[in-house]
Amino acid sequence: MPDDDEIKKVSIIVSRGSLEGVYPGLIMANGARMKGIDANLFFTFFGLHAIVKKKMNNIKIGTVGNPALCVPTPMGVGMPTWLGAIPGMSWIATAMMKKEMEKIDIPPVGEFVEMIHDAGGKIYACKATVDMFKLAPQDFCPQVDKVLTVGEFYEMSAGAQIIFT
């Protein structure tokens, strides 16, 4: 395969703060590093929860308005969507999913962010969101490399495939 056909660098934007919103970006960033591809992770809006110390290990599955949720297993019978609004549903769904993830060695969010950073992936926070959420540097996990403006994000994404999740 000629070199031009190989992906060299990816910039992955994580914009959602639910479990199913955060993990795809983390898995893709880690997978890129495992293949020797440079990886930038840019967290914006509620996706920022994944790198905020207080929030990162308390990320849950969204059970309201999710017609794909099934019981008692992920491929079971479709759950009536209104049941998703019952208090504790999100907690239960998250606990079940985490158990399955643990079995196939997908780390919890905090550990995963650390793994990606140790693997050479860069972790960035979105400046607009940081201002909007009134966050200070000490609110972030230590792996955060920098708070970036959208302009800086494009600069450091030169030559990269940009993936929005």
């Binding site: 898995i27 293949k35 793994m115």
Partner: protein, 104 residues
């Protein structure tokens, strides 16, 4: 599938260069495969290769990064510095096992 001569023995490899018959593997073959990847094997590399060997024999699967960390006691940073640009892929190839199939 093809064969190649390396370190004085003939090994079967697939089109990506992964060995298909682990019985043909030995430490000299590993050293020669590592050379092809631009790596001179040190004690640190052997710690990783030995763990993959031991774990594959137990689980019939290549350990993922987290298993390397938790069970093998090998840190992510260390793994990336020993086998740059795709540590598990490279280490597995040198250890004579199939390409890892896990996403994490």
């Amino acid at each position: 599938m093809s064969q190649k001569q390396i370190a004085g023995v003939t090994i079967d490899v697939n089109d990506e260069g992964y060995m298909t018959n682990h019985a043909q593997w030995n430490r000299d073959v590993a050293a020669a495969l590592a050379k092809e990847e631009g790596i001179d094997l040190t004690e640190g590399h052997w710690k990783v290769l030995d763990f993959i060997d031991k774990d594959f024999k137990e689980k019939s699967a290549v350990p993922g990064m987290r298993r390397m960390n938790k069970v093998g006691g090998i840190e992510t940073k260390e793994l990336y510095s020993l086998f740059p640009n795709g540590p598990i892929k490279k280490a597995t190839k040198i250890a004579g096992y199939p390409k890892p199939v896990s996403c994490v």
